[in-house]
Symmetry: C2
Subunit: 276 residues, 2 copies
């Protein structure tokens, strides 16, 4: 069995998230349908992360096993011809048999875009959360830094719906980078360019809703309801009810997934067939 | 009767163009519905240009007469609350009674985006035409310049469907700027950033499909089927069958409309009411 690694970008607006669900348009389901058509056999796709409904990806990674003789290039071209324009295969590679997009991920990076202008351009509303109210950027940026390191993120976890499960889940996560950055949005029609604040977080893995709850908490810091020094205390509380609100999905984008670069990808010779 | 000038941005993907049509979602129709709800009276909206189905605007200008006491700011806020996110009122002003968004326009600027990469990002497909085939940029840029000046644009006009009408229509137009520029597109997920070529044209007014036919002709120059020196000859032929193809709508965007700045807009004092 060959193992094919795909790098995917998608606009999550019109999908009920990544994970396949009967009767719903999902990214995994849409991709599986296309791959099954191409290979004429059932395909199990593993995604590096299960993005929720409305969340986007610029660099989701997935892998699947197949006996199809199609080259990675063929898979890429055929998928892009059959998929809707809202899902693109931006890269396809032959991977080692043991490669698993989720278990082998060393780091994932997410971004959350907060549009600070009063009027969201019609070309951007799918990809940003708008908040033009007064917010203290410096305090939020400082608070963002407090999430770096290894912490128990129970306070920033979604409930599983079962108290027992909630207690038993492993909720310790390592965050390598947690930063709020300012960007200038393109101006439309002679209007002053609006600012955009982008929260960028890179970590080994994340709990469900964790990024959106962190951003919701940063916004509370921006409003002065919390201070940066409250972050370590919130983490220590391990209490789901103490975080800020879960922010809406459309601002969130899975930017990329990192792997040990050489180990998982088989070198391909110029003719396009796997070498070794 | 007051005269309100609106500057509009919209994503044309899901609209059957600007112009109101029974039973179809149009920008003018959607806006009229909202303004009629706000003013409780019929509203006739004049647009500076009638963008076709799938064509976008970053700076369309429209005006309408009303006896409503709502301030321009109120109109803007209420419209943006009631309109879909794909249409935004980016500015609203009190205009002189004689101001007409179409007849008073001194210049309009359109852009046409050609995405040169192999894979269109899922966040961009609504706004670009893709062509990653080999094209001679320098020849296209030179050809673009040949459209500047006053010309009879019959060769680049859509047929009205009637030979007699076609003969009688005034087809002379003045183009102030006609330029092809290169831009670097944002890269997705570590891929090399793709190039984007943007055709920018500024003129007094345009014939229907004229910009899209000019771009279709530039692409034929890029492929070597025509040379820049053919452009003056094509213009001289005044033959609709001689232009390149009409390019698809999604690459086209109405960027802005210019007016004599002081004449048409009444000065507004700080309190927001018209002064004088």
């Amino acid at each position: 069995m060959r193992n094919i690694k795909l790098t995917l970008a998608y606009d999550g607006t019109d999908f009920s998230g990544w994970q396949i669900q009967p009767g719903q348009a999902t990214v995994q389901g849409t991709l599986a349908e296309v791959l099954e058509k191409l290979t004429q056999s059932p395909i199990l796709i593993h995604g590096a992360g299960r993005t929720d409904a409305g969340v986007h990806a610029a660099g989701q990674v997935a892998n699947f096993k197949t006996e199809s003789p199609l080259s990675p290039n063929d898979f890429q071209r055929a998928c892009n011809a059959l998929l809707p324009p809202s899902i693109r295969v931006v890269a396809a590679e032959e991977a080692a048999p043991e490669f698993h997009s989720r278990w082998n991920a060393l780091a994932k990076t997410y971004s959350y875009r907060i549009f600070r202008g009063r009027i969201v351009p019609p070309f951007a509303w799918r990809y940003v959360h708008q908040d033009s109210s007064p917010l203290d950027f410096a305090a939020m940026a400082e608070a963002a830094r407090r999430f770096e390191g290894e912490h128990d993120f129970t306070t920033f976890a979604a409930s599983t719906g079962s108290e027992e499960d909630d207690r038993e889940r492993l909720t310790t996560r390592t965050i390598f980078r947690s930063e709020l950055v300012r960007c200038a949005e393109q101006s439309i029609s002679g209007q002053a360019p609006a600012e955009e604040w982008v929260y960028v977080v890179r970590g080994k893995s994340f709990l469900r809703y964790m990024v959106r709850k962190i951003v919701g908490t940063l916004v509370e810091v921006g409003r002065g309801k919390l201070t940066p020094d409250d972050i370590p205390n919130l983490l220590a509380m391990r209490d789901r009810s103490k975080s800020g609100p879960t922010m809406p999905p459309q601002g969130l984008c899975m930017m990329g997934v990192e792997y040990e670069s050489t180990a998982q990808t088989i070198a391909i010779d110029d003719a396009g067939s796997a070498a070794g």
